[in-house]
Symmetry: C3
Subunit: 474 residues, 3 copies
Amino acid sequence: MGECPHIKLCDRQKNTNVRLSLPAVCIVWQTAMIILFGVFIRYNEESDAHWIEHRKAKNISSDIENDFYFRYPSFQDVHVMIFVGFGFLMTFLKRYSFGAVGFNFLIAAFGLQWALLMQGWFHSLDYTDGKIKIGIENLINADFCVAGCLIAYGAVLGKVSPVQLLVLTLFGITLFAVEEYIILNLIHARDAGGSMVIHTFGGYYGLAISWMLYRPNLDQSSRLQGSVYHSDVFAMIGTLFLWMFWPSFNSAITDHGDGQHRAAINTYLALASTVLTTMAVSSLFQKHGKLDMVHIQNSTLAGGVAVGTAAEFMLMPYGSLIVGFCCGIVSTLGYIYLTPFMEKHLKIQDTCGIHNLHAMPGVIGGIVGAITAAAATESVYGPEGLINTFDFVGDFKDMVPTQQGGHQAAGICVAICFGVGGGIIVGCILRLPIWGDPADDNCFDDEPYWELPDDEESIPPVLQYNNHMRNKDV
Amino acid sequence: MGECPHIKLCDRQKNTNVRLSLPAVCIVWQTAMIILFGVFIRYNEESDAHWIEHRKAKNISSDIENDFYFRYPSFQDVHVMIFVGFGFLMTFLKRYSFGAVGFNFLIAAFGLQWALLMQGWFHSLDYTDGKIKIGIENLINADFCVAGCLIAYGAVLGKVSPVQLLVLTLFGITLFAVEEYIILNLIHARDAGGSMVIHTFGGYYGLAISWMLYRPNLDQSSRLQGSVYHSDVFAMIGTLFLWMFWPSFNSAITDHGDGQHRAAINTYLALASTVLTTMAVSSLFQKHGKLDMVHIQNSTLAGGVAVGTAAEFMLMPYGSLIVGFCCGIVSTLGYIYLTPFMEKHLKIQDTCGIHNLHAMPGVIGGIVGAITAAAATESVYGPEGLINTFDFVGDFKDMVPTQQGGHQAAGICVAICFGVGGGIIVGCILRLPIWGDPADDNCFDDEPYWELPDDEESIPPVLQYNNHMRNKDV
Amino acid sequence: MGECPHIKLCDRQKNTNVRLSLPAVCIVWQTAMIILFGVFIRYNEESDAHWIEHRKAKNISSDIENDFYFRYPSFQDVHVMIFVGFGFLMTFLKRYSFGAVGFNFLIAAFGLQWALLMQGWFHSLDYTDGKIKIGIENLINADFCVAGCLIAYGAVLGKVSPVQLLVLTLFGITLFAVEEYIILNLIHARDAGGSMVIHTFGGYYGLAISWMLYRPNLDQSSRLQGSVYHSDVFAMIGTLFLWMFWPSFNSAITDHGDGQHRAAINTYLALASTVLTTMAVSSLFQKHGKLDMVHIQNSTLAGGVAVGTAAEFMLMPYGSLIVGFCCGIVSTLGYIYLTPFMEKHLKIQDTCGIHNLHAMPGVIGGIVGAITAAAATESVYGPEGLINTFDFVGDFKDMVPTQQGGHQAAGICVAICFGVGGGIIVGCILRLPIWGDPADDNCFDDEPYWELPDDEESIPPVLQYNNHMRNKDV
């Protein structure tokens, strides 16, 4: 502790006061959202009060045919994943739980509004009146879009200010919408669960930003980089809600009927398989075979990422198990070997290990999707099923599965490029000395941005005792 | 600490032993419920085993047309809000988490039974046989009714005994059912998400009770009025489940089809907007721009309250954002200025700040609903949509939107009157010295009503050390 | 503390290193799953890409008729119960939260795969091609099957190694599938919510194993057998998610339409009633009327167990309340009197009190089901409703309700026999000294199987201070 106070004095000169910048950004951007929504966003025909007339005109027999009833349960599950899943997964640090849950809440709430606009312009623009028409599927897609930015947050957790996170989100959503349009519409790749579009992009976006924001003296915060017993339990809330609702994530926007049904089954199976191999590898590579909570909290989810693209295809139940099996191993090994390597040699400080949970499994998922698509046959899918599943209609009505496999592979490359390229550019912006980020010895700490309760119990008591004695001496 | 033991001895003379009263009330009331259910409550035609015949008679083509499938997902979300949402939101106090979650559980479980009866007599009585016929919509309404009492609990959190809470609930449900009947059926106001019926009523009911139970020496418990680090994280579980599932709350009992669809979208947007302005105001009004967990836990929800009435109307997406925008600001400012003012000058001790989270946003929601209704036009809603949305049928088939706006405004007044009036009367009853409430220096403490684990770690260690030393001296 | 170190040295000779056995079992069993899934498991016609052709052939008018939309919301709720509900319910111990949530996660993830196979062979085998065809209902049933093993885990919580748990699960699932086939198909008992099949079986299975694994010196771990304040709050997360989603559990696989609708209502009511009587008895039997968290966490759920069988019958709302009323009392008294008695005199150490939460209420539920079935009449159910509800078709088309009552009673006996018998056999296997279970003074501790954070705050500070002083003296 001898030199500690000195270092602190120097370092704390870094100004983390966001009293002007944070309110300004929130108010101005929210006002902009209101104006843009006023100009552009309207209800679509299923959420508009004219639905009843529209329904009769289209001879739809029942209100239950409204897309709301196909997708609302999945939407709510996805919503839980975004706010509780991602939020609590990141509470594992001993003194950054407020930041984990709170900033996750902030950037997701902003991001989903901006995503409705960005994705709306690309996908839901009604050319007759120039308005974006939204319904339940748009809400799900907005949540998806936000997920990409929350993944990126995982890489920089504890090292950035809330204003930086809002900037990261603004650009992240923008890049996402463009990348998604290219991959899904121009390249015509399928990616229901977003292995490429969400996880690969979000993962590399976050890693590139983390690389740009490299902090050589981050070990000054090492006292705060671990967990405490109860913060690990809180993180398991996040893990489990992500794990349980992932079948809804991957099936939320797939085709009605068998598409949603199959995507849920495949994801359920892949995730189950991942749990076993994660536990196996975690135990095998630790001293005395003890399990490591970091692996259980994160790698158990890799199967859900990796089955994202192929979940709606005829991957077969055993295929899902195989994907999950491999990803549990790869992801856990990533935590054991790759994360330390990347920090030491590549100058990428990845707080939550998103490379192991999102980037790698995302790429694997893209590859699995490409192979599964290329191997599709009419005998397995049925003639109509093949067209339906791969959407071989309109401009793409002459495509064949092998071609589709190629397009899928192209999609992976686009996602990586957007992630890395976008991350480097946004990282440059975030290096400007105006955002109020914490000093190196002040990372992973809620103290700079949150009023903390007067909570002596969470300071290790021996230290407290020391302080107490010291004060008495004085 | 010198005079503390003395005060405690005096104060603890107040008898908090509920060993007879609590079991007696629980058993007797539950028995009464069984008898009343036996006399009055039966399944409705959609939950009765005769459904299959009824379905054929009515030419309903499929089981999926059963109201169960329209509303069950929303019902479960509402159920989570009631038990986990409200329960955990109140765990923020450092030593009142058992009481927060546990008493919330108790009064909600009792309240929903009593609500099924009270609301049933008003709304679901089958005059052919004098029975109340219940289905999924009744369960949702019962949960809604309970919400009003749980809001009131927030105002008196930590200051009352479980028996008092049961009394508060018994009368609260009764008043709610009457008030709801007047507002929805007699006045013919619309209030799908209960801005008026639930939040305005529940808020003022709780505040009036708190005013009647004013404790001038409550500062004797001030050591327990704050949070600790992990209790704030627990409270965020409540916040997030309320926030995420609020779209289900506001859409749970709206019209099938576009009604549910639109209500979910509007609520989703209003809540997103609230998060940003809450963060902005919280940061702006604190020293060094630090965020305050009390605001994040509560004010972020104000948009959901305020959009309750108008969620099913054609409020437009930007309209929802504006409502959320304003409520985040109003509610956070309420925590900063109004709550201390009310405690000091109006003798209203509002533990959870329900005035800022429910009462004010509820009134705002009522006003927004009145304006939106008055401004409705056939061109926006379509001829059938207008009739459908505002239920201009039967006795009300000649109503026009501007009239409806007036009726909505009348609804707000009724809700406030029932809340304040009912709260004063019930407060009088709760002042009787027979309920086992805690002494002023024993508030916000689980100790009087719960067996506590032998849990040294949650006592601030320095105190412990002191105690330890003192014991050694002896 | 004087003799403690000595005992520890002796006892810790028991080898809890699972570094080879746990990975080996996980990898080998998961590989076996992949092979068996490859050979046996395919999508059913509702999750297969041929669905669209199948739909047209069967003249199904809409995708919404896919069973996915009838059952997916309930499935997700059940999924939450299995992973968050059971997992967090067991986190109440002060130092076994990782094991509670983590091992629950592990065995559920393995169990559901094995259950898909075992139940598939009995119920979903397509004899035309020898394949098991799975859809959403199979996933729900697999989760149900897993629940039986998780119940058993509750009895041995803290006293077994993860490898033992996997063995317990392997045999548990196998026994479950056979028992279920006998009860549902051969005996033709109805058991939608699994009072007999899941809770009675799982309860006695766990108790018999616990009896076989009796530890006479378990009091050496008594310091770890209690809870701490926050671990009790974590456990309430489990309690509430079980409590809230139990209506989905009991209605998840009942008949479409009124069957699901009625099961949800009955369960909702029974659980509400249980809360009140649990609180009453808990308060009445404690000193000063203080509530005991153990009762609130567990006994409040007994009503859901006990209404499992009869939930889909015309139990009537008041019938549900009566069942819940009785079970709250019986279960809480069980915790107060039976659990200590069983530990002392029957050598059954039941960590979570599953006898009170699952075994007894399960048997009560079976009896309630038998009585309700025997009392069924055509006037109450309607002619078609009676046939539908009790499935009086095919080989059983001549059955009458009184007969059905007898069959239900036979089902209870089969469940108990399988539970006790299976538990004894599996208990024998688990006594082999090869599984790496903890020593008597090392139970209820995460330390043997988990890397623990360096977390001084969760050691009682006074001890810490003592250690600190002692170290200084040296």
